[in-house]
Amino acid sequence: MGPPPLATPASPVAAVRVAEGSLRADLRGVRVVWHRELIRFFRNRLRIVTSLAQPILFLFVLGTGLASAIGRAGGGLDFRTFMFPGILAMTVLFTSIFSAISIVWDREFGFLREMLVAPVHRWSLVVGKCLGGATVATIQGAIMLALGGLVHVPYDPQLMAVLLGEMALTALALTAFGVFVASHLRQVETFQVVMQFFVLPMFFLSGAVFPLHGLPAWLGVLTKVDPLTYAVDPMRHAIFDHVAMAPAIRARLLPGVTWGSWTVPVGVELGLVALAAAVLLAGAIARFSVTE
């Protein structure tokens, strides 16, 4: 069978008109990518459950075990209450990084190519991806937050709002970090290896599971270099503000982050996280905007 004669069809179907590019087109791009991320998240229920398994294990198994070992050194404070902000950070950390991995998967399976050839600027794809990953991570964090009552974190509306906001900011920074790393990689396997070098050290050095108080000098320096430290500390401040405890205990468990003799205020810490988010996002956008 040969091709039909070279002529316009007798009754062509009505062609749709496509709008020319504009900021609105790019914002539509952001929304599409963000929406897709949410659909994928809610359609994969197994992923929701499995990614909560690890923080729950840490909180209730490791946390309960450590609490018994330390005894009542916490002066009446449940050790798991101390750990709780660290566990929230962990949930956000793991979910954000997992979302960022999917950009490498997209590259492997080609959907990224469909997005990269669309008539929108690439920044809108990166921003959509990061917002989507951050939204998903914040939802996961919110589910963990709902368990707070089990470890004596009060369900105070103001506290919940502050923690949600801090988790959202942290999630955005971490997803941007993951996407930035992913933009340099081409294979899923490499990404997982690279992440092992970042994710677990970031978690352990952040003060999630032990107080940043009276540490050996080398460890103290490492904790200050870890960006996640500046996300865990504000969350712990928020929670401790709503839990009754002796001032001496609070000073020992929550010494704050110090640079020399200066204790970094919570506002500055959150500012640093926001700055990191902005810089990493810009870096990821720059990487994706390069045409071969």
Binding site: M1, V13, V16, V18
Partner: protein
């Protein structure tokens, strides 16, 4: 604006792409008319996919220029993108989404007005017989269904030019035939120019014109019929009562060099169909059966490059292994 309706849909001038020292495309030029179906034919590694990549703004040319739907592929990238549809070699639909969600997102990315998305979605899904399956998650689709969905998606925003990069690669013969039935149907219904690549010779016959690529160069461009006519000779196979005698008779009485092989006598002759009556009259050996085959595009490729597609692919494979950059950049 340069994007007139009557001008050629694709204009390529001295287009070139180098990866380091390796030239993937070596300065090709061609024009594709509006409404035409143009096929780039050649072995893997001939530069077809890189050429398509440059035309659809995914790959930046090293030299030369190209206009698609009246816009320059480098300087007016977004205008080009809005006017082209793409069906890639590798699947790019999202497995986790339904067919309808995939299309809806595409419509949004391309800015199809909300009121037009629904009816247009129905048109393109009905065209590829997937309307009934619109709410199924794509993961449940077969390879052929996914390819059909990609074709529907590529058409959703009514592109002026549809690029099909190996639209049937990796599909079984029956599914390939189906895909072609859909492509022929869409050519009847939609005013769209099609630029496709293939390394299946039989598929190239669906095109109005074909460009044969080899080693990054465009060797020849013409209609399938003209290309085959230029090769000239038809292939004739005879079964006779005495093959050895038939070969002698062909040489002595008709001046034709034939060979007897596997119980058949083979030879080539221009205008095979008109030669047959003469053969019966003059051979003098009883003929049991005759078959005449018009030259295929395989023969065309052979006559222009001196080797078969298969041989060309083997050596192109060597070149690619020597230059892994090309593969790495084809994402």
């Amino acid at each position: 604006m340069a994007a007139g309706g009557a001008g050629p849909s694709v204009v390529v001038r001295q287009l070139e792409k180098r990866y380091g020292t390796v030239a993937a495309v070596r300065g090709i030029s061609l024009e594709v008319a509006a409404g035409e179906t143009f096929g780039l034919l050649g072995p893997n590694g001939a530069g077809k996919t890189t050429t398509i990549g440059m035309l659809c703004t995914l790959v930046r040319p090293s030299a030369g220029s190209a206009e698609v739907a009246g816009f320059d592929v480098v300087r007016q990238r977004d205008q080009v993108r809005r006017r082209i549809g793409l069906v890639f070699q590798d699947p790019t639909v999202d497995d986790y989404l339904t067919a309808a969600e995939n299309l809806r997102f595409h419509a949004e990315l391309y800015g199809v007005p909300a009121a037009e998305v629904g009816p247009r979605m129905r048109q393109v899904l009905e065209l590829v017989d997937l309307w009934e399956r619109r709410d199924s998650v794509v993961r449940e689709f077969s390879g052929g269904m996914k390819r059909r969905l990609e074709i529907a998606r590529g058409l959703l925003h009514s592109p002026r030019v549809l690029f099909l990069d190996e639209p049937t690669v990796g599909l079984d013969p029956q599914t390939r035939a189906h895909i072609w039935a859909y492509i022929n149907e869409l050519r009847r219904r939609e005013a769209v120019t099609i630029v496709m690549t293939t390394h299946y010779m039989d598929e190239a016959e669906y095109c109005h014109r074909i460009g044969i690529m080899d080693g990054g160069s465009l060797v020849v461009v013409d209609t399938p019929a003209a290309l085959k006519a230029a090769v000239g000779a038809d292939r004739v196979e005879l079964r006779t009562a005495d093959n050895a005698q038939a070969v002698r008779a062909l040489a002595e009485r008709l001046g034709i060099a034939a060979v007897a092989q596997e119980g058949l006598v083979h030879f080539q002759v221009p205008g095979g169909a008109t030669f047959i009556p003469r053969l019966f009259a003059e051979l003098g050996v009883e003929i049991l059966s005759v078959s005449v085959a018009r030259p295929s595009l395989d023969d065309v490729f052979m006559s222009h490059t001196g080797r078969t597609i298969r041989e060309a692919e083997a050596s192109a494979g060597d070149r690619l292994r020597a230059a892994p950059m090309i593969r790495a950049h084809r994402r």
